[in-house]
Structures are given as C-alpha cells and as structure tokens.
Symmetry: C2
Subunit: 647 residues, 2 copies
Amino acid sequence: MNIHDENGTTVLRRADEKEPPRTLANLLIGKPLATADAPHETIGKVVGLAVFASDALSSTAYAPQEIMAILIVAGLSSYQYVFPIALVIVGLLAIVTISYEQTIHAYPNGGGAFIVSRDNLGMWAGKIAAAALLSDYILTVAVSISSGVAQIVSAFPNLFDYRVWIAVGLIFLIMLINLRGVRESGIIFAVPTYFFVVMMFVTVIVGLVRYFSGSLGTVIDPPEMEMLHSTQVVTGFLLIRAFANGTTALTGVEAISDGIPAFRQPRSHNAGVTLIWMSCILGALMLGISFLGANIHALPSEVETVISQLARTAYDGRGTLYLMTIIATMVILVMAANTSFADFPRLGAFAAADGLLPRQLTQKGARLVFSRGIVLLALMASLLVIIFQASVSRLIPLYAIGVFVSFTLSQTGMARRWFKIGKLKEGEEVKERSSVLRYEPTWKFKMIINGFGAVATFAVMIMFAATKFMDGAWVIILIIPLLVTLFSVIQRHYINLAKKLSMDNYGSPPPRVTRNRVLVPIGGVHRGTLAALRYARALSDDITAVHIAVDPEEAERVRQKWEQWGDGVRLMIVESSYRRFMEPLLLYIDEIYQRKQPNEVITIVVPMFVSHKRATDILHTNTADALREALMFRKGIVITNVPYLID
Amino acid sequence: MNIHDENGTTVLRRADEKEPPRTLANLLIGKPLATADAPHETIGKVVGLAVFASDALSSTAYAPQEIMAILIVAGLSSYQYVFPIALVIVGLLAIVTISYEQTIHAYPNGGGAFIVSRDNLGMWAGKIAAAALLSDYILTVAVSISSGVAQIVSAFPNLFDYRVWIAVGLIFLIMLINLRGVRESGIIFAVPTYFFVVMMFVTVIVGLVRYFSGSLGTVIDPPEMEMLHSTQVVTGFLLIRAFANGTTALTGVEAISDGIPAFRQPRSHNAGVTLIWMSCILGALMLGISFLGANIHALPSEVETVISQLARTAYDGRGTLYLMTIIATMVILVMAANTSFADFPRLGAFAAADGLLPRQLTQKGARLVFSRGIVLLALMASLLVIIFQASVSRLIPLYAIGVFVSFTLSQTGMARRWFKIGKLKEGEEVKERSSVLRYEPTWKFKMIINGFGAVATFAVMIMFAATKFMDGAWVIILIIPLLVTLFSVIQRHYINLAKKLSMDNYGSPPPRVTRNRVLVPIGGVHRGTLAALRYARALSDDITAVHIAVDPEEAERVRQKWEQWGDGVRLMIVESSYRRFMEPLLLYIDEIYQRKQPNEVITIVVPMFVSHKRATDILHTNTADALREALMFRKGIVITNVPYLID
C-alpha cells in the first residue's frame, strides 16, 4: 500500500512484510514484534520456565559444592554449617524474588537491570549495570561450561587431563550454533530443563528417603583431598566466605524480568508466576543438595563433583540413573551458557541504542555485527577457561560480583521509582521512557520491599568483594570502571558527531556540482574494463582512462587495444619508472586534484571482479579499497567500484 | 614532459619522479631501480658481506652443536668424529660455493633458485623451489631466534623457563620493525656482522693458542646430561645423521646470488668475490668451533650452548669477552632471522608475478599486502617456536631440507643452461627471460661443476630426508607438495580469468546506459546526507532519497527536514515493521531492480563518515560495505560512498 502525501514524499507500507526468520536468539529475547502489531505467538508459563530457568537452576550444580569447598579447610566437622548457610541463601533468594516480582509488574516490556537503573537513577547507573552484566555474561559461559565439563569428568575420569580442551570445544560448538542462527522452538529448552528438574528431584528424594531410613551412609571411595585432616578452626570469616560462594546460586534469577515480552498475555502475571515457580524449585534443590551433600560427606574436588558423589551414593553406584543425572546436569549447564549468547548481544543492542557502544550493534539484522558479539563472547570465555584451567572454584571469585552489582542497582532503581509514584496524585499517570508511573496506595510498602532487597544485595556484594578480593574479585572491580569509561568515551563521540552534523547554523547549501571529472584506472583492456567504462559514460562526458605503464610493451598493447575498444575516450599513459602502480596513480590523481575547481568533483571508477567462489576474492587486487584508503581525506574525490561477475 | 600522439593518447613521463623511500627491505633486495636508469647508489664488497652474510655465518652458532648432539648418544669418545664431519661439510660448502659462483656470473640481475630452476627446468621446478624456499624462510626465523635465545639463556640461566616467550617476543619485535619499514643503511648490518666475525675469530684463536700450548683443558662444570655414559656404539647411520645435522651450516649461502643487483659494478664480479670471502669465513669458523668444541668436551644442551661453553673455557669464565661473544652471537642470529622478513615477501612477489600467488603481492608499494606477508611469517615462525619449545635440536630435522631442495634444483638448472649454451654457435647470443645465453668454450667444464654440485646437494637432501624423516622432516616433505598444489590452483584461476576477460570473441559492445537511477539511503537529514545528495545531483537527475522508518516519530522529523533541505528531491519513506534497517532497504532496492530496463543502471549513493581518528571508524555504520556485500551479484547496481570528514 502506497500513501502519497502532498510534498513529494512517498510512504511505503508493506502489508505483506515478512516476519524475519525465528532464531534461537529471537525465542530468548522475545519474538520480533511488528511495531503496530499486538503480540500473538508467545509462550506460556510451562515453556517460559524452561526457556528462562536454565541459568538459575543450573547454578545448583556448583553452588553447594562451592560452599563446601570453603568449609572443608576446617575439616569435615565444619559441614554442620552447610545447611544453615544454604538456608540463609534461600532467604536471600526469597528477598530477590519478591523484589523482582515487583519489577516484572512495573516493566511489562522488560525490566532488565540496565533499563531500570538507567530510567530511575540516571545514565551513570545504567552504565555500571551494563558493565557488570556484560562481564557477568562472559563468566556465566566460563563457569557453566567448566562445571558441565566437571560433571563429564566425574563420570569419565579418564577425560580429566583434557578438561580444558573439552570446555573450549563446547564453547566453540555453542558459538557455531549461535552463529548459524538455528531456528528453534521452546521444546528444545523444555526437554533438557524438565529432564534436569525431574532427575534432580528424584535424586534428592531418593537420597532423603534413604537418609531418614538410615540406609544412605557416606560416599564410598571419595576423591582424595589433602586438606581433609586440617586442624583449622571455623571462624566467622570462613562462614562469610562460604556464604559468598553460595550466593552464586542466585545468578540467573533476573533472566525472567528481561524476557517478559515473550510471555503470553497477561504478560506480567504469567512472568511473575513463572518467577515464583522457578525460585521455589531453585530453593528446594539448593536445600536438598546442600543437606544431603554435607551428610554423605561429599568432598569438593576438581576430579569429581558433589552432584556426582551425591548421585552415586543415592543410587548405590554408577548405574543408569546416575548417568542420567550427570547427563541432565551437564546439558542444563550447557543450556545456561547458551543463554548468555543471546543475552550478551541483546544488552549490547540496548547500550548501543543509547550511544554507549557502536551503533551498528542495534541492527538486529546485521548478521556480521551480531556475529562479532558472539565470537567476542566465545573468545573471552575460552580465555577465562584456559587461564583458570576450567576450575569452577578458581572462577567463582570473579563471578557473582557483577550479578550483585546489577541486583543492587536494579532494586535501588525500583525503590526510587516507588518514591516518585508516591509523589503522584491519585489516578495520575506519567509516561516515562520504558514504563508508565501510576499512583498506587501501597507504594510505601513496595518501596520498603525493593529498598530492603537493595540493601541486602548490596551487603552481599560488599561481603563478596571484600572476602574474594585477592582471589580474583579485583579483576571484575577493575573491569567495571574501565567499561564504564569506554561507554562514556563512545557516548561523547556520538554527541559530538551529532553536533557537527547538525543542520543548525548550516547557512545556505553550497552551489551545485558543475563538473564531474571521471578517471578510470585500467591495468589492461578487458571485459571488466569495458564494464567500468560503460558505467563511467553514464556519469559524465568528461572521462579519462589512466594506464600506469609498469612495462612499456604492455603499455603499447593497451594503447593499441584502446584505439579499438576505448569508444573515443581519452587515454593517459603514466610511466612508472620504479615499477610501482599505486604511487604514480596517486601522484597523477593528486595533480588533477590540485587543479580542481570548488564546484568540481572527481570520480574514480574502478572495475572490481566478483565471483561466487568467495575464496578467490583474495586473488584479485582491490584497487578501489586501496584508493579509498589513500584518498579518504581529499574532499571532493569519490571512489566507485563497478562489479564485474567473472563466473 | 608530456608527449601527445595522434590518437588522443597522452603519455606522461615525469622527469622528477621521486625515488620511493629506502627501507630495510629495499637495501636487502637491492635499491628500487628505475627501469631506464643505470644503477648508481649500490653497495661494495665490505658492506655487501655484512648485508648478505648474517644468515650463513650465524649458522656456525648451531651447526657444530647439532653434530655433537647426535654423536653424544655414543658417549664422549665419539667426539673424535666431529672434526672429520666438519671437514666434509666444508668440502660440501666449497662445492656449493663454486656452483653459486657460476650462477652469479650467469644471472647478473639476480639468480635465486626460483628464477634459475623456472627458466631452465620449467615452471614445475620453479614451483618446487618456491615452495621449498618459503618453508625454509619460516624455519630460518624459528631456528635463528631459538638459537639466539639459547645463547641468552646460556649467559643468564634464570631465563630458561621463559625461553619460549622471549623467542616469541623477539619475533614480534622484528615483525614490528619490519612493519614500520625502518629506513636503514648498510651500517646497521655492518656493525653486528663484523662484530660477530671479530669476536668469533678472537675466541677461536685464543682457544687454539691455549689448546696447542696445553692450557685449555675441558669445560668446567658442563651442563648435566643423562646420556653421557651411554654404551651405544658409533654406527655409520649415526655418522650420517650427525653429518646431516651439520649441513645446516650451509643455510644462507644462496643469499648473495639473490642480491646481486644491490652490488656496485662490475656487479657479478663484486658479488662473486663477496661470496668467496663469506664461504672462507664460514668454513674457517665451522672448522675452528667444531675442533675446539669437541676437544673441550662441550656438551650439546638446551641449557647452555656449545658457543657459550667454548667462550667461557677459552676466556676462563664469564667475563667481559665471554659476554661480548654471547651478545655478538645472539645479535647476528637475530639479524639472520630479520633477513627472512625481506626474503619472504620478495619471493612472494616473484611467484605472484608468475600467477602462482595473489597478484597483489607484486605491488611493492601496497603496504597492506606486504604487511600481511610479514605478519604471516611471524605467526608461522612463532607457532613453530611454541610447538618445538624454542629447541634448536627439535627444529633442525625440519630445516635444511628446503635449502637442499632449492640447491639441487638451482644447480640442475645451471647444468641444463650450460648444456643449452654448448649447443650455440660461437658468438651467438640468445636472450632468455632473465639472462642472456652466450657461447663459452669452457661450457663442458662448467656444466660438470654445476652437475656435480647438483648431485652432491641431491645426495645430502636424500640423506637428510631419510635419516630425519620420523624426527620431523616429514612435515616439510608434506608441505612442499601442498604448496606446489596451491600454486597450481592459483595459476589455473588466473589463466581462466584471463580467458574470460579476453576481448577475443567479444562481439559488439552493449548499447550505452540510458538511465542512471540514483538512490540515496538516509538515516537522518544532516550535513553528511546533504554532501551525498550534492554528489548524487552530479550523477543524474533521477534521484530518490530513501528513509527506512524504524521509528515513526523519527520518520516524521526526517520528512519535515527534507522539505527544507531536500532540494526538491523525491523522498521515499519505507516503513519497517520489525525495527530492522537493512532488510526493508534491500527489499526496496530489489523491487526497483526488478523493474530495471537493460540499459539502465542503479547507483546507490551512501554517505560515509571519515575521521582522522581511525579508531572511531568502528563507531560508524558502514552501510556501503553491507550493501556491496548483499548486492554484489546484481548486475547493473553500483554502490558509491561519499566520504564526509567529521573532524
């Protein structure tokens, strides 16, 4: 349908515009929505849980083990504190869940930490949240994959020596899948997530039944540990460190608040219910695994995971149920890593839309740009895996800080939002950038909830940073301000650019171009040259073909052929005494440029060979790119390639 | 000076054409010669020796040690064979030197193995020689740098654990220097080469004087060796293996025959004399170091080099003279590696001129292409250093094969050339591609000399390949045919391309272009847009500005601004329902393309921001490149960027 308006502007609105292909990324970030469209194909709570919960639920695979890894230095007797610590963490989970429940209802179009902190606290807070989240996504990949490989190694101890390369291989496999942009449905997520949930509950329930009936016992043949008979005593500091490690269980809880638009209407309601289900499952598994892990005296080891020790104790050996549990755990960890591959470019796009990152990142369709983000993520995560030798325990001190920074900012932003709502009159509505503020009588209560969430997550963040600083947390504490600085530099560049390009104070436009001098550099007279000449003819009547005479005999051949095929166009042969091509050509162009009038432009038309065999591209000189590079800063010179298909 | 001829062709001959800047590469490969010019600024024998000898002379730093490294498995008593083996190697050196002496006089413009074998044996031989030499250059860098680092480690044993990274660091330093293209004079070569020659002769003479006066003794506190008390006996196979290792002393002897054009007139005479000097120095050092090394019972070790053990025995400890000897050795090894950085791209250019490698490599001035060759060489050499842990002994089995393949081909080619000369009449001259054949009465004698050289070097090559096959020689024996295949594939591509582009059977040219439809995609109305519009105006009267309306409010702003600034040009607003930019634009272009007449072209004019701060380029969307990529195969669409300088 075309609508013409009176000023010569035509508006093209395509009724049949095709929906872009659905990719794994689309599914995670919500189906691409037509601006004017009401959402029609969305997901319900059951699929939603599968899609958004893998990151959060998979953390039960390492969080209990990492609590034990700290306590074990004080010997097995310290295991009495594992369950109480898990209880405190589940309490924290409850606080965070209730806080996010409010965010989900306030931001039905998606309330990630970046948007909530930017809108309510200002751009500086948004920048910190974005920096924290970007580093967190890299760590999610590194930690999840390392933990996934640790599960494989637990079942197949011979693979221990290859764990780093298996991990890097898995990261690159996920990268390739994401680069290809597989079209997937929720089922791909539903199967492994629910398989994991079922297997873990079966394991925990079998374990609990056997424990209370007295038939469980402890791990047979546990992995060797040197520090087992340590005489260190349990200190408050040790307990805090163990607690800090356990808080990694909370990573991924925020995923649903980012993905609200993917849910079926009523979106906020469905997303909120899903969040509560997810937190209940997460909390139950966390308590169950911690309780049983401590009671069977599982030892936190690089060689065998606690999950593996628990499963083979519950199932009396490495049978089918054991193997299914390990596989389920491994797969959900890989799925968790995979979600970062969708989150990372999406957050990049949000930040880019605000001018904090290169603008190209906002173009979802631009495969190349999207690809670069995916490759960057894979490389950074692989680097971490190699540096830390795929050891979850060594990666953990870097993890969780970013998550808790974003929790804190997001909850503070929400509290601030309730405060603003409290100042509205009843029935009043204020439209903000990403949400609508409406008066609510319960604003004080809700402000206190989010405020309490902010204080609690801030306290955990400080605890984590302080107790893990030397173990690696300093890396993240260094990287976040560096990223924030980078955002600011990029933002300043765009602001300055906009000023320079602005039409304000532009004055009157320059006079029209009166002469377009066209140069056609030719290496020889062939079909590609003639295609370029034919195009040049369409641009101007003022054309000069230029041949750089590296070899005098060749130059003579060119002159003779040009007489036959040159269509009467002037030919200039420039002798090159030093057998060079670019320098004499640039010198000649420069001479013409010096004599250029203000209203004249120079167009250089260069044939370019193109072939369906893309590998052969490197066999053809790209003169146009070389000229563009050399003449970039000469005002009034334009370089044009005329493609010539050689196959 | 301009010479117009009658056909509208202008010939531009510049009397003042500037000589290209002299770089380190220029110096090594001969100053850039103006085609019509007689060479005027060339080097004499003293500087010539310094420039071309570093590769050959530096091999005395490892060749004697590598002979001993094989013999030592049969215990110290086997050291009686070190000097005899060195004598045989010097004999081989004499044969090769006399053979190359004849090449130098036959090819006054440079007679590298590639040119000599291609011209006399055919392109297949040229391809093998080129493949052998390219792999050899990579190994020269890896071996020389590894040996250089071994010298440093000998003097500073604490650095042993960091040897791989020091080696990689040095390679990257040399790479950076070559990428920058330092302007250098012969002095830079003369100082370290002569410093090395002097230090080595002083060390050898001091050693010999003390040996014959009976005061030398053996190495105090030699590096530990497990195999020292081995009971293995000396076999013929062991001697052949030791000899094969020692032939690495001959690597680099061919350098002068490549560099003849750099010498002062009479070029061949000067180059020939320099070659003989170089071989004499090399032979003398080889014999001296082998004799002394064996007699002081120096042990071939990764921890301390034979040179280091010899120097501290001759100078009674690690004093100033010792340190000067080590530094001189280290520096000349680095210089030797550096020569490969000039040889590698130069051979690439020769091969490219024959269509065996991408044509761009022939363009000396094209910095980018030259740079890629340098970076490739550095990466490959670094990879070898990392894989072989900077161990000269482990790299040696890969080395020397390439050199002896090229020796054999080159000498066979020369023998063939004498045979052709023998069939000429007296006084007759035949101009071949790179040299002139003139009858010589002594042709039979000279043919026998080159023929003998060919047989000798071929025998060494077979010996080397057979005894070192499993140790790593297989890698090179595999790589050479792979490279030859690659050359053939590339060559075939160029031959096919030339056929397809040929004007034979072209028929009559297509009719002229009757309509040039210009599209100007605009994201907003700003100064860059107006620059693109102004250029579009110069191309055609048929212009449409296209705005992809991702955001309806922004689209309305564009429409209003266009009314003011659009100069009456038609504006098309294409609505994008899925917030995408490229897809709707491509769809729109496609619709216009479908309606295109055969004599119509479509030009898409895209503004491109350019800035002197090149780092900011990644902050600007390069729509033109994306369109070029997407529309490459659409005949009759040309994409043009109009640069707009933003600072």
